[in-house]
């Protein structure tokens, strides 16, 4: 998972952020960050968790957890629709150009 995805889901990296080595410490407990607005992340099976610090969020997102699948699906549909409409607009423009040139 790249840092862009982390920023998209968890927000900007805090100044001086140091990624802790969580995997080598099985007893690691995440500390709540009172200044961090909680985020909900999902896995591929539709399970979700609330993360309460950037450290925790970054850990989950790096591990493959993602944003709301419903939201992603809707966003994809919205993007696809706008690309389709853009395509129609380009087609209309080209059709008009070619049609007008042929007519002339």
């Amino acid at each position: 998972m790249n840092s862009e995805t982390v920023v998209k889901i968890c927000g900007e990296y805090p100044y001086g952020f140091v990624k802790e080595d969580i995997e080598s410490n099985p007893n690691f407990i995440f500390t709540n960050d009172l200044n961090y607005q909680g985020v909900k992340v999902w896995d591929k099976d539709g399970n979700f968790v609330f993360v309460n610090s950037f450290q925790e969020c970054e850990h989950y997102v790096s591990g493959g957890w993602d944003e709301d699948p419903i939201k992603s699906k809707e966003s994809n549909l919205q993007y696809s629709l706008s690309v389709l409409i853009l395509g129609v607009l380009i087609f209309q423009y080209l059709y008009k150009k070619i049609f007008v040139i042929q007519k002339k």
Partner: protein, 647 residues
Amino acid sequence: MKKIKNNIVILKVIFILVLIIAPWINADYFDGIKAQELVQEDSSFYEINPCKVSLSEFIINEFNSSYQDHYFFRFNDNSSISCFGRVSGVTQINNSFYISIGTNSIINLIIQGLFWITLISFIKPDKEKIQIGQSYYAANLLAVMYFCYSIFAEKRFYEQKLYLFDLTKNISFIILFVLLFFIIKNLNDVIVKRFYKLINFLPVTYLLIGVFSGYNLTIYSFILITFGFIALITKEYNRNINLTYILFTIFWIINSTDRFSFYPDKLRGFTSTSYDFNSVLSWAIFVFLLINGLIYLFRKAKDSLDLEKLLNVFCISGISILILGYMGANFPIINFFNYYYFGQQKYGVKIQNPFSFNQWGEKIAWRGFYPSAESIGEYFGLILILIIFMYFKNRKLSKLHLVTILVSLLGLYFSDNRSAFILTLLTLTYFLLTTIKLSNKIKLLLLTSTLLTLIFFVGFQNLSYPYIFTSEYFLNKAIQFKSEGATSSSLNYLIYVFESKSISYYLFSILGFLTFLLNRSIVWGMFFSRYNPSAYEFLLGSGPFNFGKLYSEVPINEPGYLLLPHSSFLSFMLFYGIIGIFLILFYIVKKIITERKNITPEGYIILLFIFLNIIKNDTLNYLSSFTLYSFLTYMILNTNIKKKFYR
């Protein structure tokens, strides 16, 4: 050539049918989930399986829902794209079922936009196309940018309407830009080819209201705002109006430091949904462009006005409105489709019998298809007046006119708009007295019967109350609505005036008496219990088409539903202040005086009709009425077309 044209018409009809049918058959037919019958005891199936059954499956399975009066289909614009046209839930309230149909505002823009563009394209194009030049493309782009800004400015409204659409992200506005550009560009391409014919189709705006479901936008704003930009780019505007308006705008935006929300209800499409800096600025720009767009349209197309065509469009629209209103009241599915495909601000009325009375024996105002009973009553009254003009001009009536007379009389009765009826009656009496040779006895009989009808409509009992009671009735009502601990500045002033018995007292007591006769004491009393302007706001207003401050600033003991001021004059006092109203009146009166020799009685009758309805109705808060009345006023005050208008 003719064959190609026929094929295009067939293709358009097929496209319209696709737009009507396709959205409502959207479902996964292989998921094994079939529509189930709704029963009073259990409607859990649709709660467990939201967005699984299409509307058509539901109707086929439960055909009685399309005509039985305890079913109500309602749009849920805040649904996902994939849920479009499917049953997203069912709620049972008492014995009625409310079936929520998933729709998505983004898709609505495409479907409704394409549907209306295709309908407009059926109008035959002009023989000679209007020459706009390169400004057309710039105007289209600017119009799209403006509408994106208007959505940004009314974020609070759109957050509830656009499903999972993040209005804080730039990409969302890029998507909106693409979609709006697609609709606005194609719409204007169709419109400019028919520019000169548009003016004869203005009454259609009462039938095809054109408000997008889930938006505070109408298709007509797209057209008029583009024209507004064209007028500005080509410098075809009224400099004085624009400069004065800009001065007002500067005050409104400096003054907009508070934040209030307003639920638009039946004003959707022509009112701001919030009062704050951005929405005040957005609506100030909107009205600025609207005025420029309307003037541009009227100036350019005035010579194409064909009164007979205009009247025929009035007639056909009037008949359709009544029929669709009646069908919508009796068939839930027609009510549902009326809302979507005609772009209504709110659903048609549920009252099935337009002749019904309440428990006190008073006629219930039946609005049918249109959002306001008063406004549609005016529309039918106006049709009757225009038919009277036409009859006395040509001394003949077509079958369409005869049917329309019957329909308009019914529509006028159903709407219970007494003032429109009185004005129609007075018009008829005037023409009978001035154009037909009648004996003095018949003239006297005619005048007496008209006067008696007038008194009957005002109400005999209303004239029998003491003046002190009737003149202070609206003030007492305003005090009744006042909640403890908060009194509006206007009510404070009225209380002072009535207590001090100064010169202003006599003026306000006469106004109070007229208010009583016009049956406006309660609603105007309620307005003054709310209206809380500062001195500057009283003079210059708080911004166009913005009720947010009025309805949220001072809490009152309100009835629990939206009750508008019932006077466009009061609404305009709120929007433009007393100076704004004075300037508008000054401009019109000055124009009447300079053109007085060219204005015939018919012109004065229409001006009087418009003026009285502006005083006692919310009529100018609807885009259809605003456009139509502006057009009629412009045409009457414009001497170049007088030959067409008058005998």
